[in-house]
């Protein structure tokens, strides 16, 4: 599975309790009400565990975690740094 699929699967199964159809990678997860901010926090922890990275303190921002695309971009940037 690629990053996008891994994230989609986690969000659907763990944060949306299996509900929801296809998730748009650009959809703003928090603003559209798909998950609440506690959900975002779980997502941050999941990303750390699943991809074996530590998100630096200053990077836990909405910009980096607001959509599947944003997280994917952020991970690419982190891994190439």
């Amino acid at each position: 599975m690629n990053t996008v699929e891994i994230l989609k699967q986690y969000i659907k199964e763990e944060l949306m309790n299996g509900a929801g159809g296809d998730l748009d990678v650009n959809e703003n997860l928090l603003a559209s009400g798909i998950i609440d901010s506690l959900g975002v926090l779980r997502l941050v922890s999941f990303v750390e565990e699943r991809f074996n990275i530590e998100v630096p303190d200053e990077d836990v921002t909405l910009d980096n975690f607001q959509s599947i695309q944003a997280i994917t971009d952020y991970l690419t940037q982190l891994q190439s740094a």
């Binding site: 609440d36 901010s37 506690l38 975002v40 926090l41 941050v44 922890s45 630096p56 303190d57 200053e58 836990v60 921002t61 909405l62 975690f65």
Partner: protein, 419 residues
């Protein structure tokens, strides 16, 4: 003319506690207070360390006897009543481990009078009157104040040290002794508040905070068995745009800010007038010197959201008393500023809380992640008011990194706008 060791301007908790801690060092003081206590004051919730200052003054038994509501923590409700976070009041034991603890919420008219009476019982002298002028010795050092007494007569009080505990009146800054008052970051806000009866309370009487959006929030603080203090804070522009009087604004906001607040106040009776405080954040940067120092609100007020008003009044009172005791025992007698260390230390603590508040408003997601997940214990320490730790805890360092990034981003945006 009267003479004493230390003259304290202001008989609120900062001034009265300074007198109590000075008395423990065997130092005499005179407190000048213009109002008759009890009198109304806002700022009713204490941090954990603030509660420990009350204990250090020997007042725990009295506090419990008076049935002030016990506070086990602060509960913050996010927008729409979702995403709560809870920070318990905990203390550090002798091994440095966190242990359950509690602090209080108080009706300030009762509490402030209790502390002032305690100061008098410990030997402080209370003079009812208004400090009108600062007295200076030939070398320019502050050496007392002039006071207009209740009967209109004028008295000079000479002392080794003048302590400004005048609160928002900022006596020494206005007198040109401490530096000028600068506007703080949180100065375009209005707090509107009152006391209510009939509110629906939780099982425990904790401090509740309700977030609406950035710089727009409310508080719910039980202050006795029947009464709850409620306040709503909003940007000044938002408040000004409301058509109607302050009371109707207050009632409207109680039901508008957050469903978790609204459901607790279905049918309440206002038992205090509705009051407002605006533009409340300020900073006096040079607040100590030869013969003087400032305590608490008389030099700086940040933002009321995490209940640090009484905290700084009492913790700085103890620090000030220690610094003065050292000075009276011959320390720093020839120093340019005998209280420079006290000033630096006080600023350090207030800076930490400003950083905490900045992070909460500027980057709520990072803040929530640190509180919930990454730096749980460090945030318990910060909320308790353990703010003088050196080196800074990892949690505080994280806050500073987040704030620095937010500032850099803002600077970049405004540079772009001007390009």
């Amino acid at each position: 003319m009267m003479k004493t060791d230390v003259v304290i301007v202001g008989g609120g908790p900062g001034g009265a506690a300074t007198a109590v801690f000075l008395a423990k060092h065997g130092i005499q003081s005179i407190i000048i207070e213009k109002e008759q206590f009890p009198r109304f004051h806002i700022g009713e919730s204490m941090t954990g360390e603030c509660g420990n200052m009350v204990r250090a003054m020997g007042l725990e038994e009295e506090m419990l006897k008076r049935n002030h509501p016990v506070k086990y923590g602060v509960l913050v409700y996010g927008q729409g009543g979702n995403n709560t976070f809870w920070v318990p009041v905990m203390k550090r034991d002798e091994q440095g481990n966190l242990q359950d603890s509690f602090t209080w919420q108080v009706r300030r008219s009762d509490f402030d009078k209790m502390v002032l009476d305690h100061a008098i019982a410990q030997g402080a002298t209370l003079i009812q009157g208004q400090a009108t002028k600062v007295l200076r010795a030939e070398d320019g050092a502050v050496c007392g104040v002039q006071v207009r007494l209740a009967d209109g007569s004028v008295e000079e009080i000479h002392a080794e040290v003048v302590v400004d505990a005048s609160g928002a009146a900022t006596f020494l800054s206005n007198a040109g002794v401490a530096s000028k008052k600068e506007r703080g970051k949180y100065d375009r806000q209005v707090a509107v508040y009152s006391h209510v009866k009939g509110a629906i309370r939780d099982e425990q009487d904790n401090t509740l905070i309700f977030y609406e959006k950035k710089n727009h929030w409310g508080w719910f603080i039980p202050i006795d068995a029947e009464t709850v203090s409620i306040g709503v804070v909003a940007p000044s522009d938002y408040y000004r745009a409301y058509e109607g009087d302050m009371r109707s604004y207050f009632l409207q906001q109680m039901h508008k800010i957050n469903p978790e607040l609204s459901k607790r106040v279905p049918d309440v009776e206002l038992v205090e007038e509705v009051r407002a405080t605006s533009n409340y954040s300020y900073h006096v940067k040079q607040f100590t010197g030869k013969g003087f120092l400032c305590v608490g609100d008389s030099h700086r007020f940040i933002d009321p959201i995490f209940s640090f008003g009484l905290h700084f009044a009492l913790t700085e009172a103890r620090l000030a008393a220690q610094a003065i005791a050292g000075y009276m025992n011959g320390e720093n007698r020839d120093a340019e500023n005998p209280f420079a260390d006290y000033q630096a230390y006080s600023e350090l603590g207030m800076d930490v809380i400003e950083d905490l508040v900045d992070c909460f408003w500027e980057n709520p997601l990072s803040f929530a992640f640190f509180v919930h997940t990454r730096y749980v214990d460090d945030f318990i320490d910060l909320f308790a008011g353990r703010v003088y730790q050196d080196p800074p805890s990892p949690g505080l360092q994280a806050i500073r990194k987040v704030n620095a990034k937010a500032r850099a981003k803002k600077t970049a945006v405004s540079a772009q706008a001007y390009a």
